[in-house]
C-alpha cells in the first residue's frame, strides 16, 4: 500500500465526506417533535404536581414543628418544676398573704393594666416572630 499525501487525502475524504444520517432521519425527527408538545405538557403538569406536594409536605412539617415544640416543653422536668412552684406558693402564701393583699389593694389597677398589656403583646410578638421567620408558602 503506497500512500503519498494526496492519496491519503483522497482515501480520508472518501471515508468521511459521505458520512450522513439515514435517509428517513428528518421524517423521524419531525414525527418526534410533533409528539413533543404533549409530552411537554404532561411533564410540566407532573412537575407542578410534585412541586405542590413538596410544598404541602413542607408546610405541614412546619406546622407540626410548632406543635412538637409545645409538646416538647411538657417533660418530667417542667412538670416537676411547676409542682415545686405550686408547693412553694402554697407554703409561703400565709406569710405573704397579708402583705400581698395590701399590695394588691394599692397597685391592683396597675397590675391589671400591665397584665392586659402583656396579654395583648403576646399575639403581636408572635406575629412579628412569624414575619421574621421564613414564610410558609402554600401556593
Amino acid at each position: 500500500m503506497s500512500t503519498p499525501d494526496s492519496e491519503l487525502d483522497q482515501h480520508l475524504q472518501a471515508l468521511f465526506a459521505g458520512l450522513d444520517t439515514a435517509a428517513d432521519f428528518d421524517a423521524r425527527l419531525m414525527a418526534r417533535l410533533r409528539a413533543e408538545p404533549q409530552t411537554d405538557a404532561t411533564e410540566r403538569a407532573m412537575r407542578a404536581r410534585q412541586q405542590e406536594r413538596a410544598r404541602y409536605r413542607r408546610a405541614v412539617s412546619e406546622l407540626q414543628s410548632w406543635r412538637r415544640s409545645m409538646l416538647s416543653l411538657l417533660t418530667l422536668d417542667t412538670l416537676g418544676l411547676a409542682l415545686l412552684l405550686i408547693v412553694a406558693a402554697i407554703t409561703t402564701w400565709p406569710r405573704l398573704g397579708r402583705d400581698a393583699m395590701d399590695i394588691s389593694h394599692q397597685y391592683g389597677p396597675y397590675i391589671l393594666i400591665s397584665l392586659g398589656i402583656l396579654i395583648a403583646a403576646v399575639p403581636l410578638l408572635g406575629m412579628w416572630a412569624e414575619q421574621t421567620r421564613r414564610p410558609i408558602r402554600l401556593l
Binding site: 480520508l12 458520512l19 432521519f25 417533535l33
Partner: protein
C-alpha cells in the same frame, strides 16, 4: 440565507418546527459527524443527533444569542455525545464489521485494491489518539474547514491545525510502514 436573527423571529412567532426544519439541513451532518467522532457507532450517533435536535427545539425559546447558534448547537451536541459515551461501554470501533460495512455502503469504491487501502486507513485512523481521530474525521467530512472543526470541537484553530498535522504524519508513517512490510 439562514441567520440567527431570522431563526429567533420564527421562534418568537411560535414557529419552532419551521426553525428546526431550517436548521436541519445546515447542521444535521455536522452534528451527526461530531457525535460519530465521539461514539464511533452509526446508530448511537444517529440517536444522539435526534436527541440534540429535540433539545435544541426545546431550548430555542431560551436561546439568548450570547454565542452564535452554531456554537450553541455544537455545545449541546458535544455534551450529549459525552453523556452517551459514558453510558456506552464497551466502546465500538471504527473497524467493527458493521461500521466498515456502513462506510463502504456510503462510499462505494471502484476496486478491491482501493477497498483494502481504505479499510487499512480506517484501522489506522481508529488507532489515533481521540482528539487526532476526531479532527481527522471532522476535517475530511467538513470539506477541509479548519475553522468549522475548531468551532465543533471548541478548540482554537491553531490546535486543530497541529492535531491534523500530527494525525496526518502518523497516518502517512503508519501507511508507509504497512506498504514496506507488504
Amino acid at each position: 440565507m439562514l441567520t440567527d436573527a431570522g431563526l429567533m423571529e420564527l421562534v418568537r412567532a411560535e414557529r419552532r418546527d419551521e426553525a428546526i426544519a431550517l436548521l436541519l439541513p445546515a447542521f444535521r451532518r455536522r452534528v451527526f459527524g461530531l457525535a460519530y467522532s465521539f461514539l464511533r457507532d452509526r446508530e448511537a450517533a444517529e440517536d444522539v443527533t435526534q436527541e440534540v435536535f429535540i433539545k435544541v427545539w426545546r431550548a430555542l425559546p431560551g436561546f439568548d444569542g450570547r454565542a452564535s447558534m452554531s456554537t450553541w448547537i455544537y455545545t449541546i451536541a458535544r455534551n450529549a455525545s459525552l453523556s452517551a459515551l459514558r453510558a456506552q461501554r464497551p466502546q465500538s470501533s471504527l473497524t467493527d464489521p458493521e461500521v466498515m460495512e456502513a462506510v463502504e455502503s456510503i462510499n462505494p469504491v471502484p476496486s478491491a485494491d482501493v477497498l483494502v487501502d481504505r479499510a487499512a486507513i480506517l484501522r489506522l485512523v481508529d488507532q489515533l489518539p481521540t482528539k487526532q481521530r476526531q479532527v481527522i474525521m471532522l476535517f475530511y467530512m467538513e470539506e477541509q474547514s479548519h475553522e468549522e472543526v475548531a468551532t465543533m470541537l471548541a478548540m482554537p484553530v491553531g490546535t486543530v491545525k497541529t492535531l491534523l498535522h500530527r494525525a496526518r504524519a502518523r497516518l502517512s508513517a503508519a501507511a508507509g510502514k504497512m506498504s514496506a512490510t507488504a
